[in-house]
Amino acid sequence: MIVDVNANLSRWPLRRTPCDELPRLVDSLLRHGVKQAWVGSLDGLFHRDLGGVNLRLAGDCRRERRVELVPFGSVNPLLPDWQEELRRCHQQHRMPGIRLHPGYHGYGLADPALAQLLDLAAQRGLIVQLVVRMDDVRVQHPLMRIPDVDTKPLAELVRPRPGLRLVLLNAFPTLAGQELKRLAAVDRVWLDIATKEGVGGVADLLKIVPPARVLFGSHLPLFPLESAVLKIREAALDDRLRMAVEHQNAQRLLGTSDG
């Protein structure tokens, strides 16, 4: 059983991918034993009507019967009245969390608007997913060059907010070395494996980050689900670690596990 914490609905604007229509995305999830996927919307990177984006996302998830899709709405703290977006995600759509794209929304992690957003999200008990990168900066479209999010301020953002639960998506290779170790030492920060590279990369990651805070993430549909599935196989984890990464950690974070 797998819980995928890093999937997306809708389409990437620069490329069609094999699983960028919901039925095929769900087929892929089912083929590899994914019982639940936490999904954001790729529309949320570019659309300014995030109310519409999140409404569609919630509806798509609610209507899907073959697999459990858990919506994570988009919030952009630079847009007017973003607080209403946050409220709707929480109260109207009953989402367990939100997904942030600082790179695509044009703010750094030191921006006071983000601090305020994190405070409010923590007060509402929402999980915050923060996407560090969507694609390789070396080969981006020349009209859409989006640097990776500078993660250096993260540890100091999380420490003073005891209610915050932060999930970093696609954090590698940006997050590495001492910075990774510093963040690994901060409770309430989770990392997914979608962009973790190197032979046996997931096993290496588990030597640095506490195993309870590593999550299965695919970056579907931009990456095929098979990439993350095979990374687990390549790492040859024992059953305890494998199950923790594949589903138990995510279930615990979402509050759907007894563990």
Binding site: P18, R138, V139
Partner: protein
């Protein structure tokens, strides 16, 4: 060391390793060709990777230890995913513009790798075309008189330059493929770094040689177009993010006979790179060509010079 290593000649090695297998049928479903470590406890074991895969692009990096220890470790990881044979090139350190002495040292490390696991490791000789005579001597030492089965070119000099011509001619005489690193960066490439257009230009000058366009530019949507008209260039898919749709486009634009699996491990995981092929919406015969058949066909030429 050299004398000992050179006892394993290219022809003898290829004859040994190619004799037992025929064409693409050698890539088989898991369970038919060997153990599947951890599979019993794996809830997803129903989706099994094929066995008998050949990987055209592996380095002695990403794992610690001596050359021999690194080979063992890399082969262990590879074996977990059904990768049977790997092509190694360059040594334990990456030097952008290596001296002839450095090139020789790195090739000696690959010779050690081949000698350590001759049934699973192929070697490509690394040369720096800025040093023409030394490159030809290294080709003779490692390929003509040694066990290596191809040529690796990296980023010392753009491959469309005329300095490459004698090396390509020698490789063509020996009937071994050339694997050229190629990137198409959004800004500009590194000094000396080839683009896919450079590879195509070189290949069109040498229609009797065979080329592997390593990484297909990383910007593969651009790279595939650049090499499309050069029929003696195969797209090698290693070393980029596992973006969905890469291999499908490669097959659509070039045909399955012109696409080769490579990983760029140990900097990359075998897993993410293999996923590009295994996830592709392609018929199984096309995948078998990509995962083994095409590389095998290229290397087979060198077995009968």
């Amino acid at each position: 060391m050299e004398t000992c290593l050179n006892r394993l000649t290219r022809r003898a090695m290829l004859a040994q390793t190619l004799r037992a297998t025929t064409g693409t049928a050698a890539v088989v479903a898991a369970g038919a060709g060997g153990p599947s470590p951890g599979a019993a406890a794996d809830a997803e074991a129903a989706w099994a990777t094929p066995r008998g895969i050949w990987d055209a692009h592996v380095h002695l990096s990403g794992v610690p230890g001596t050359v021999e220890q690194r080979v063992d470790r890399l082969l262990d990881f590879a074996g977990r995913l059904g990768i049977e044979r790997i092509v190694m090139h360059m040594g334990t350190s990456f030097v952008e513009d290596p001296s002839p002495e450095e090139v020789r040292r790195q090739n000696d490390e690959v010779l050690r790798a081949v000698a350590h696991a001759p049934q699973r490791v192929f070697g490509f000789v690394y040369v720096n075309p800025k040093h023409g005579q030394e490159s030809l001597r290294e080709l003779d030492r490692c390929v003509r008189d040694g066990p290596m089965v191809g040529v690796k070119l990296w980023i010392a000099i753009r491959c469309s330059r005329p300095e490459l011509d004698p090396i390509v001619r020698r490789a063509a005489e020996l009937k071994v493929p050339l694997l050229q690193h190629a990137y198409d960066r959004v800004g500009s490439n590194m000094p000396g770094e080839s683009s896919c257009a450079d590879v195509a230009a070189l290949a069109l000058r040498h229609p009797d040689a065979s080329f592997l366009c390593a990484h297909t530019g990383n910007d593969w949507e651009r790279g595939l177009r650049a090499i499309r008209a050069a029929g003696n260039v195969l797209a090698e898919v290693s070393g980029s993010d596992p973006t969905a749709g890469f291999v499908e486009m490669a097959v659509r634009e070039l045909g399955a006979e012109r696409v080769v699996f490579g990983s760029d491990a140990g900097g990359r995981s075998f897993a993410s790179q293999l996923a590009k092929v295994l996830s592709a919406d392609l018929p199984e015969p096309a995948k078998r060509l990509i995962l083994r058949g095409n590389l095998q066909r290229l290397l087979r030429k060198g077995a009968h010079p």
